[in-house]
Symmetry: C2
Subunit: 129 residues, 2 copies
Amino acid sequence: MSNDLSILKYDEKGLIPAVIQDAETGAVLMVAYMNETSLAETVKTGKTHFWSRSRQKYWMKGESSGHTQDVQGVYTDCDADPVLIKVKQHGVACHEGYRSCFFRQLEPAGEWKVIAKQEVDPEKVYGKK
Amino acid sequence: MSNDLSILKYDEKGLIPAVIQDAETGAVLMVAYMNETSLAETVKTGKTHFWSRSRQKYWMKGESSGHTQDVQGVYTDCDADPVLIKVKQHGVACHEGYRSCFFRQLEPAGEWKVIAKQEVDPEKVYGKK
């Protein structure tokens, strides 16, 4: 029986959600999508690569910003339909300048509150292009 | 501008991935799917509720096993298309008896290795039904 990347179950678009977790702090940094090629590239290079559903293209995290992610471990679950990737994050994960993309928390009153500090100015980071 | 659950972007099937994280240890326990109703139920009851894509029905985590999850915080990301839910896990998250569903790690040789201990016998848990 096969016991490698081919056991993973991609959806009808050939995608699998990837949860990216800071290996040091345990913080969940982002969720993005991979296909078989970008996952293989992630494993091969040790840098996270994704498939952008909106832009319909491959991207390496940090290719514009320099805020890359070094892969520390790749995991899958009992159903083999998401992957969890633990990383060392260089800079910040979020294109809006926050350490984690999950910077909004639902308040008891039902509103979303920003709970983190913007660590870098997104315009400065992406203005470099 | 709306600033509540309605800002979330569900996919074409009305679903959003939910990453469930142990609030105490930071371990990612599972990834499952919610729709608007199951997320509202999760927020209202303080127990995680999902939509099963395979069974096409609502389920409360732990409804069979007793291994429920108490919601400690609900977060979303910059794109508002996944949610992250921090929980206090009662028992184990995985129906295979592991604390986390992510109990397999990709080895350098390309094989998946079980890296966690099975904490409960799944047959005993689900045999109760």
